[in-house]
Subunit: 306 residues, 2 copies
């Protein structure tokens, strides 16, 4: 009912990072696409098939050194329902390899509808008395703009099924401040949001001191990471922006507590496109991803006390 399962995996692997599975079609090596296009044509089904092969290769290459993956739902939805089927297959495959799966969907709604999202992504769907799993991720990213009505249904699922959520607080993008940095009294919007997250998660604190309601806070704002870490000791952080978005290991050190816990740092393109930036042969995309994941782990671990 908190992030204990994730904390345990991070501790065991001594690796507080997550690989973002954001498989744009142009990131997939040609030899994989060729085979899929021969079967299904240059169609949504063809591209989806190629993405699944690509994802499985990436997962095989990193599952023993990385605790978690974070598929970004947008890249699957852009391939239609065929892509969403591949998302579903990717989650299942990652879980079969022991990976913790964070569904990056930034879902948000209220009441009955939020219960539906909760069932879809981290809970169970009841079909006339039969309980079935739809996508079955371990955690979900969430947008909290709608307030408690959008979060409580998720907290219920976190408690019942031992899952977690990450609510957007201070995001990694350049324009994040347009709303998030505005002052409400003496506090910025992202601080107000973080405070609400503390409240939403207070019944879910685990042995490590972290609750099931974490926040997303970008590596591209190192000062805010330090500030939020100090103010909100019960919030686990999902930290995007490392690598391709420009943040370095020293920038994210402030996200961690004195035991080197409390945060997981994501890199997507930096890992899954490593074969492109390193100039490796495309057939070595998986090995390149592994090498890049090891480098990221070592860089970050060297800056913290894990």
């Amino acid at each position: 009912m908190s992030f204990e399962r994730l904390v345990k995996k991070i501790d065991e692997m001594r690796n507080p990072t997550v690989v973002g599975l954001d498989p744009k079609v142009e990131y997939v090596p040609e030899y994989i696409k060729k085979e899929s296009y021969e079967k299904y044509g240059k169609t949504l089904a063809g591209a989806a098939d190629a993405v699944l092969t690509f994802n499985k290769g990436l997962i095989d290459a990193i599952y023993d050194i990385v605790p978690a993956v974070k598929p970004q739902l947008a890249y699957y939805e852009m391939l239609g329902w065929e892509g969403v089927k591949v998302y579903s297959d990717t989650v299942k495959y990652a879980k079969s390899k022991g990976l913790y799966v964070i569904a990056d969907g930034k879902r948000n709604d209220i009441g009955e509808t939020m219960k539906a999202y909760s069932a879809a992504h981290i809970g169970k769907t009841v079909i006339d008395g039969e309980e079935v799993e739809a996508f079955g991720a371990d955690a979900l990213t969430v947008n909290g703009y709608l307030g408690s009505d959008g979060i409580n249904p998720l907290v219920e699922a976190c408690e019942k099924y031992d899952r977690g959520i990450f609510v957007l607080a201070k995001t990694s993008n350049k324009s994040s401040g347009e709303l998030q940095d505005l002052l409400i009294g003496e506090e910025k919007v992202y601080e107000v949001m973080s405070k609400m997250c503390v409240e939403w998660g207070k019944s879910t604190i685990g042995a490590s001191g972290y609750g099931a309601v974490g926040v997303v806070t970008g590596a591209t704002y190192p000062e805010q990471l330090v500030e939020l870490r100090e103010k909100f000791p019960s919030l686990f952080f999902l930290v995007p922006g490392y690598g391709a978005q420009g943040a370095k290991a020293k920038d994210i050190a402030g996200a961690f507590d004195k035991n080197g816990r409390g945060a997981i740092v994501n890199s997507s393109r930096g890992i899954i496109c490593a074969w492109k930036s390193s100039g490796a042969d495309e057939k070595e995309y998986a090995e390149s991803a592994r090498a890049s994941a090891i480098k990221m782990r070592d860089e970050i671990v060297s800056e913290i006390n894990l």
Copy 2:
């Protein structure tokens, strides 16, 4: 590149309402479910099949009197990829009947990822040079917490493919004020968000005076509807909360301009579950939905100057 297509359909039908297709399994009549369960079992596939039959019946019953439908993605995702396939089939079917389709997904992200959502829902996906349509709705609901980086990719698609977006401003739920009503200087968060929407949409104003970036503003807050209508004449409103959530026709009158334009009012359960509340035979679910949709139209049109 604005909401002109929607405005035209509303004018032609003299009906500023949209039917929310939020098909929870328990809303589907037993005789439909029985047939689907016989084919596929009480599974995600079985429930999804029943939902598609239900949706097609609803669409057949209302397409000649209602300008638009608004499928809520959560209810399809809760049935896994099989449900998302039915979402896709529902959009196609609705469009084949001439309905304007608003995808209620409240999507949000940044940069490349938002481009992927944009391609998925209102644009096109490019697969190695081939342009294909993933889900192909006419408009998408969006959460603007991440600022311009999350909106600009959608505005591009609106311009290129003649689509629209509705950004959450003041939502219909009880807890919407926890963040949305807080004061930033002398303005509430939802006003700040609405102002940003004006800015985002300013290059997309159509003949009716409305741009492609609208807002979601709940029927349950009538005073805010009046206030936002006066302050922001270029923002088209999507107004949820009518019917099941408690708002009446007179509550929403303030959302419309002096020509009875500028808003579309949603009802979901009030229409699609009408057969339950009216005590009709379940086989008359479609007729009940039609009767309910006509009642809603007449109630609202009687309060405005359309």
